[in-house]
Symmetry: C2
Subunit: 210 residues, 2 copies
């Protein structure tokens, strides 16, 4: 994993991920406010950044939150930018190694799956951690339309070498995921009411229910 530089991270994501900010806007402004707030007690953020943590706190001020992030620097930075720590537990670990009996009402896992070794195990573990009727927001960087994506990211000023490598040798940079395979895995695990909230070139965001 590359050395984490908090200053550059958000800027880099905005260049490389079409609709990076729009994804948060959709989740925190459009969709989660429709949830019955009383029923949301525990939220799980896998690889969550401060914008997600603060977004959750705003929509569900009374809910407890667990944030799991294996990269120490990213976790430290997320803590630093978190506005209210009162109900947030930060865990420096891979989600795969996280042991808990807690059940969550909502899980948010954005742009992590393509870096996971065993995505079936990972998704089944999320399923296991959710309450019945719990909701998952999952986004991925897939293998769709990479040529368009390359042009898009370079036009936005992303690093040309990095972007070209992701495009031509994606399997060396991340797991190669197709939208249909991930959708099938989610359905096979038992997720239902699948909604594709967003898809822009290679990036997709689903909302689904246990």
């Amino acid at each position: 994993m590359k050395e984490f530089n908090s200053k550059n991270y958000a800027e880099d994501m905005k260049k490389k991920i079409p609709a990076y900010e729009l994804m948060f806007e959709l989740i925190f402004q459009a969709i989660l406010p429709l949830t019955d707030k009383e029923k949301v007690k525990n939220v799980l953020l896998i690889g969550g950044q401060a914008n997600e943590i603060n977004g959750i706190s705003e929509v569900f001020p009374d809910a407890s939150m667990t944030v799991i992030e294996p990269n120490e620097k990213m976790l430290t930075e997320a803590k630093r930018q978190t506005l209210s720590h009162e109900k947030v537990e930060f865990i420096g670990s891979k989600f795969e190694d996280y042991v808990t009996d807690k059940k969550y009402d909502i899980c948010i896992c954005l742009l992590v799956l393509q870096f996971v070794e065993d995505e079936e195990f990972f998704l089944s573990k999320i399923y296991g951690c959710l309450e019945q009727a719990g909701v998952l927001f999952l986004s991925i960087f897939s293998s769709e339309m990479l040529e368009y994506w390359k042009n898009f990211a370079i036009a936005r000023g992303a690093d040309k070498g990095q972007v070209s490598k992701t495009c031509s040798q994606q399997a060396q940079v991340m797991k190669v995921l197709s939208l249909s395979t991930v959708e099938k895995q989610l359905l096979d695990l038992g997720f239902r009411e699948m909604e594709k909230i967003l898809q822009v070139l290679s990036v997709a965001l689903w909302r689904c229910k246990k």
Copy 2:
């Protein structure tokens, strides 16, 4: 049709259409630059605004363009904001009434179809106007995820009454289109290599080929 106010139009679209600007960025920065410029002689813009006209001129400086727009004020405003008029023909007409023998290499028709009376006739007319292997960029406002869309647009500051009406009585405001029906219509007409470039809540953008 509501009175057109050019000042408010773009701002209103940005509030109401998730990824409004992203749509142009994808077409003009990511996708069209990959086209063989030599082969693009004629471009058709149905309901095109100045940002599309100027975008096309930048990517294909040698191509001729036909812009068709029935609303006189919108057409006047598009003309006013067009940077170079040399190769642009403006036609004040509904596309349905446009008579021509010209064939186009590219047609762009964004967020128009939901206001069209007979969308099958409209799409088949586009098909007929395209050269063999000509490319269509089509975006629509569909009937998908309107509840989420309502929340999204209101949070962005769109007019609450208008947005609520579109959500609860969409058929009074526009044609009710589903993504799958439009995709099927395109395929039935003979369009191929369909790519869904973008889908954000109710809005979808496809690229397909004759």
